[in-house]
Symmetry: D2
Subunit: 390 residues, 4 copies
């Protein structure tokens, strides 16, 4: 694993727990973690249970006991590490967004394509796909429970930047983070919307905003925020369905409010990450007198991933998405199967994000998303085990 901060801690939980809960065809070993600060990475290794600590990620590529590199660094180093790791014959798991630019993402997707021929796997860490309620929603949509799609409505709202005194960290610098709420939160929205809908966005129209332009630097003084605080966009799916998206870090009182609703001709589904054990479902084929949104408590052994956990009603938490991500990736590696979302999928999300930025820069002009040639539309091909857990 490269990087050991927030994402590193979460991924460590995933790798440590996955084999204790799920039956796996391979047993992951947490052999080495890497970070630039020798003392800090040693402490992180001890804390999170990694057998060794390295200070140069290239050293991981030399180790025979490292077969998979898990990249948890800021976006500006994803491309370099991932391409090198793939070149070195490693499987790769890379945090989202895949990269800070379409060009980087293209290079990564190309590297993954080449490596695939050698039997290597590459996956992007859109972990929210692994929330049982989201996976259940995807399964229900695939099974036709909401019919032809009309609307997707997706917001991801946080409030840690409401305070104008919140410091200017790397997440607020374009050169490291690529973008602000758009890449951090909007990337999840785009991936989830397309994954759940089973189709891709054809184009977008966007507006972005930065409300607080100067923030205190951790080192003292003020610095300039170079990313967006919020990004709003509408979108068209190829099928004609209309979508709206909003990502914001200044929505007071909303802590991690990723909400997505899909309306179809036969029903609707709604999910709220702040209540992640629940899925809301309206079956429009029922008689109107007894119809309504039902709250499915997604904790039944028949629900995705739940066969391995606790009895009904005993909910899971945020970090379980990383356990499930590890499970799905291990299965894909063992089976020699392409994991989802692939680097090609990550590239396609990057193209949507770029289209959003282009539209915002051109007075909201509708901006088509270039087609990614080879990647099949999710859901149109047989869905692999790792994509829709059974």
């Amino acid at each position: 694993m490269v990087g050991y901060a927030f994402m590193g801690a979460a991924h460590s939980q995933g790798w440590r727990t996955v084999g204790r809960v799920f039956d796996l065809p391979l047993r992951p070993a947490m052999n080495a973690v890497c970070g630039r600060d020798r003392d800090a990475v040693a402490a992180a290794a001890a804390r999170h249970g990694w057998a060794a600590a390295e200070t140069d990620w290239r050293r991981l590529l030399d180790r025979a006991d490292v077969q998979l590199v898990d990249i948890c660094t800021p976006g500006d180093s994803h491309a370099e590490i991932a391409v090198a790791a793939l070149a070195a014959g490693k499987h790769v798991l890379c945090e989202k967004p895949l990269a800070n630019s379409v060009a980087e993402a293209e290079a990564m997707a190309a590297a993954a394509e080449t490596a695939r021929a050698r039997g290597q796997r590459a996956m992007v860490g859109f972990n929210y796909r692994r929330t049982p309620a989201v996976a259940l929603a995807r399964r229900m949509i695939r099974d036709g429970r909401i019919g032809t799609l009309r609307h997707v409505r997706a917001t991801y709202l946080q409030d840690w930047l409401v305070d104008p005194e919140a410091p200017l960290t790397w997440r607020l610098r374009r050169e490291q983070a690529g973008s602000g709420a758009l890449g951090d939160l909007g990337a999840h929205l785009v991936d989830l919307a397309q994954y759940m809908a089973g189709e891709r966005l054809a184009g977008v129209s966007a507006v972005t905003g930065t409300f607080v332009r100067e923030r205190p630097l951790p080192t003292g003084g003020l610095g300039t925020v170079t990313v967006d605080d919020a990004a709003l966009f509408t979108g068209r799916f190829a099928s004609g369905a209309l979508a709206s998206f909003e990502a914001s870090r200044v929505a007071a009182g909303r802590k991690n409010a990723l909400r997505i609703e899909l309306n179809g001709e036969h029903g609707s589904l709604a999910f709220d990450l702040e209540r992640l054990n629940e899925l809301s479902f309206h079956d429009h084929t029922e008689p109107a007198v007894a119809a309504g949104f039902r709250r499915i408590l997604v904790t039944d052994p028949g629900h995705p991933y739940l066969e391995a956990w606790w009895p009904p009603g005993h909910g899971l938490g945020y970090e379980h998405t990383f356990v499930h991500q590890a499970r799905d990736l291990v299965h894909a590696v063992a089976a020699g199967r392409e994991p989802a979302p692939s680097f090609a999928d990550g590239l396609q999300v990057q193209r949507v994000l770029a289209a959003v930025e282009d539209s915002a820069a051109t007075n909201c002009a509708y901006t088509p998303v270039p087609e990614s040639a080879p990647a099949p539309v999710p859901g149109s091909a047989p869905v692999p085990v790792a994509d829709i857990p059974t």
Copy 2:
């Protein structure tokens, strides 16, 4: 009153009840109702409690016992009736949207302006302003409880057009209804967003869609739908706040889901018309450990309009908004005060709707909303009694 269908029934409830509940400076008398079908209008008069029935609205203008004309017809007749009624010296209450075009709305606003000099009042029926929870939210925003505005997020979702067999009524014909979900539902969203925010939209970017193009005619056969099923748009307020709007009649399971959330630097407010006795408020100035969205049950005697109703917890319904509308208009007439929303306000909403249609017709291009010269920004001037009830 002209027209006696859905809106006519609701307005009748308002006029019949208002003096039984509120102390009024004037006593409204339900002297005459008008409709084209003699038998039907006579039955409606008997049912709803109007003393007389007329079949030509011009007859109302001749009656000395008619001092106020309440227009509840489809949008294509609003301008003609309202302008004539004002010319005849009557006060006017006109259902929303004010008109089917900006040109009509301009004529109406001009007529109202002229009539104002003669002491006549003209008001648009944006009745949701009179929901106690909405009026409370406005009061809290005016009092600074959410601080500088960052976001408005407004959706109005219904589902009566999900069924492709739903008939093609006048509401689906552009020549009568002006537009579809946009004018019917979106007009409410725009008015509420601006009313609650206390500021106006500077520009919008929009996309609209019609999913079912042919529908059964009541007379048999198929007809073409000439209005939108759904309209989505983003907007900028003059202050820089960003807004998103969505109006749809094809959101399965959503019956009358007008939801609006406003996020500011000091807090947030959220309202859902399907739970109209509640207002959600997050006070961001509280310590984080005890903060959260609270559900204010807006049934306290200290809440707007509630001093006249039932004890706490005994909720009101949809039609009460028309009682309150009647109350506020009666007060304005008695006091010789301009009611809100005025025809000028209604015109400005019409301009926003026109900008939405223009943007949708030009690939979502950001489209400024022309400034309405004379009308003060709501909230910037002292707010009249009728606007924010005490």
Copy 3:
């Protein structure tokens, strides 16, 4: 109508509105209202739309234009007025609880039984049966949607006595009110539980409490509270189902929280008066993976009473229960049918309340509810129109 305070205002709304909304076989006329204070009753008559005002209720019995007496006074005068009115040949609607004691209620039920032979109708004002969501729940239970009943769980929580400075009104004096939260709120719980369940309580075990013993008198000084602040009891239905009840006026933050949940072998239903347009339903016969409590928005034309009101999603309020009560009573009178709940039903509720008080006075000892001989168990006989609206 006798009495014109809170209940009088609510009943007036019901009588005034019912014929404007529903098709009725008879047209109610609001001919006279009665109260002891001449000026106050005259003002109430003018405000609420009664044609005449009387200061002695016996005068109403002499009036030929009074065919139905609606009793909205405190409980200590119910028996005298109702018995006299029935003797005078009037139909009677009496507010709940039917009386302040079983003995009074027995006299009233006997008088009603006698009058019934003469074609007179007598009904108790358990208005919450007329909430569309409650009537829908009853219909679903009758139709077997929850199967064999296991549990009823009912609470009615208010908070207007949390403040120790809240004044000592008639509602806190045993001689006028009969009891406190028990008779005021608990009576509703008992009626609703039995109505919805379609069966009667066999016995109860209870505890009551008064937390604030001395309160300020409206006339100055302190007085002693002689009724309960709260009453909690468990109960057994004849079928073996177990029930729990709690009525309280000191539950801070709960304004009018009448909540009732019924669990059966095939499903569950839950209702909350603070969200009276909603009914929660869990269908336990569905596959577990897609099951969950659904929120039925009870605003569909197919729902009880809703065929006469607004389009879906346009909710009703508290006072509508009185419109529906008037509708059902008018239908019963016109059809010469026994309305429900009858005085016999009211007597049986009184017996449950007496059993609750007996149990509380004997260390919670399980106390059987004496059987009311003639009254059929609601639901076991064909359900009349007025009971379950179509």
Copy 4:
């Protein structure tokens, strides 16, 4: 650890994770797990990460590398194992309920008292105290946020016995489980109610029921259920506050619905285990116009246990309560401090459960709970770190 089924898996997660997340004064080592079936326990050891497997729990007592025995077996073996483990000088963590009878619990509490003098710690596994929202509620109550207590309302509802074909497992046999819903679910209710209230129940009145008397045996044929399906009871706190409790396994649609609400003179708190990351709080000292139940998302670093987890809004799950339980016990052992809840606390809960059964057997007669002599009322003494995390 003795036992490795549901509770064993959950405790294993706790022990494995605690040192990876929290800074601990001692490092727990998972040295041995014990079960009767050699192959099964070996598999469990491998799965859950225990270094060794034993088939006789007495062998654990001989091992020098076992300093703490974690008892996860059914209730009928708790007393024997715990008393022996304490006699052997081990610290003990014992699952709830402490025992199947008061006599056993007394023996265990006496053994713990003796061992305490030798520096050994004994704790009962009422893990729900470690839910951050519950611990926060306790902290707020201790800090006076709800004032003098009036009501506690607690239900724990599940539905796995709704199906009459659900098999007759050990949990439905009195000789192994002690009781049914009462001991399994009601024990949690009693502990939580007293813990949160900071005071103890003085007496109870109860009714219990078994709806399905015969169930299929796993071995074929039918067996008799000898425990309750549901237990309902009311209770009095020493302070005069009134409480109601309901535990049921036949509440269709309720999966793990542990709900508890406390109403005090200054406010109210409510918690629902199915939404365990939330706490509902009404501050009754606020002006009525802006007051209401607020939803505190208990995921802030200032909330109990949360300083070690994820950013706000990234919720925890059921199993985290076991991580926190391990953390608190490790701190108590390291500090030589009495953990809470102690065996004396567990004994007192057992006495409440016995009083419930006695009352149910004597027609709901009010049954006092015998005072446990030495144990301080929780909250009356300075609250130790392990009790209320900071």
